[in-house]
Amino acid sequence: MIPVLGLVVGILLGVVLDVTVPAAFEPYLPIALIASLDALLGAGRATLEGVFDDRVFVVSFLSNVLLATLIVFVGNQLGVGAQLTTAVIVVLGIRIFTNAAAMRRLLLGA
């Protein structure tokens, strides 16, 4: 319950504070966001399956975000940032869909 409240608090902070994204982070923020979304859905699925573990969640969350950002960073250095960004988003998107479908099946049985 508390983490969900934290999410709401974070959203409110982001809306109220009117922060401008630094130009250096701009290409990586959407990727990091997608990666964390994937981790969140993974955590939700694990919760429903009864295998959720704090440590696993934190580690998978951080590694997901870092890896996605690193891939895009390397791609930018090599001049294929746009293509690698697309690749990462496709992979994460597939995972998000898979996790969402699993949660749906777990909750609704269909």
Binding site: M1, I2, P3, V4, L5, G6, L7, V8, V9, G10, I11, L12, L13, G14, V15, D18, V19, T20, V21, E26, L29, P30, A32, L33, S36, L37, L40, T47, L48, E49, G50, V51, F52, D54, R55, F57, V58, F61, A82, A102, R105, L106, L107, L108, G109
Partner: protein, 256 residues
């Protein structure tokens, strides 16, 4: 995928997760959630610029089209500036032409006697009780004044005034007096002339000149040369019926 979980079990786990007491690690997870929410909100609030998402090719194309547009606008600016300076020059020259035409109109109006004039000059008072001054004497006075550079001349007599212009004729009136330009004048006369007083007055007074001719005819003459003379009698002009401007080349050479 665990197929051994029923929807009821899943819902129970979900509600249990939502209501469970904080465990070790909940704080860290909460921090991560706060960060995710914050980043999501910031990213959604960020201005959505089309250029951010455009590919390199698109950007180059956009840049090229902007360059082309900029070139076109620069060309248009220089074209419009050229037009503007042309128009300004045109306005200047037409203003100058208008000023020149107005000055010319004044000059010609004074010469033709259609506008009143004032300036330094002489006033010639001729008392002629015997009516001995005839047209030729009066004409000689006018000629004397013209020779001395009078610019505008007017003759008063018996409360009537006549502007003397190039076409004015001097005719004797049998009953006495002089008809100038068709208007009969009777003594005493007053001749007003605008010009350099220092030239006009001596010219009138030279021996054998106008004044002596008038006095020889029996008139009394006095010359004032210290007044500002107002020549306000006007002469009607009518457009010439027969004369028309000559060919430009001839007119040019005539004027030169």
């Amino acid at each position: 995928m665990s197929t051994d979980t029923t929807p009821a079990q899943a819902r129970a786990r979900l509600s249990q997760a939502l209501t469970s007491r904080p465990r070790r690690g909940t704080a860290l997870i909460t921090v991560l959630f706060v960060i995710v929410g914050f980043v999501a909100a910031v990213q959604f609030a960020a201005p959505d610029d089309v250029l951010d998402r455009a590919s390199r090719t698109d950007l180059i194309q956009i840049l090229n089209s902007l360059d082309t547009r900029s070139d076109q606008l620069s060309e248009e600016i220089s074209r419009l500036e050229a037009t503007r300076s042309e128009l300004l020059a045109g306005a200047d020259s037409s203003e100058a032409a208008q000023a020149e035409a107005e000055a010319r109109l004044e000059t010609l109006g004074i010469l033709a006697g259609t506008v009143a004039a004032e300036g330094p000059g002489v006033e010639l008072a001729i008392s002629d009780p015997a009516g001995a001054v005839d047209g030729s004497t009066m004409l000689s006075v006018v000629q004397e004044l013209r020779d001395a550079g009078a610019e505008a001349i007017q003759i008063d007599g018996n409360q009537r005034s006549v502007r003397v212009v190039a076409s004015s004729a001097f005719v004797d009136v049998p009953s006495g007096g002089v008809s100038v330009a068709g208007i009969a004048l009777s003594p005493p006369y007053s001749v007003l002339a605008i010009g350099d007083p220092g030239t006009l007055a001596p010219a009138l007074r030279i021996p054998g000149g106008a004044v002596s001719a008038l006095e020889g005819a029996g008139a009394t003459v006095s010359v004032r040369d210290d007044a500002i003379v107002v020549v306000d009698a006007l002469q009607e002009t009518s457009p010439p019926s027969y004369a028309s401007p000559a060919e430009p080349e001839t007119a040019e050479s005539d004027r030169g």
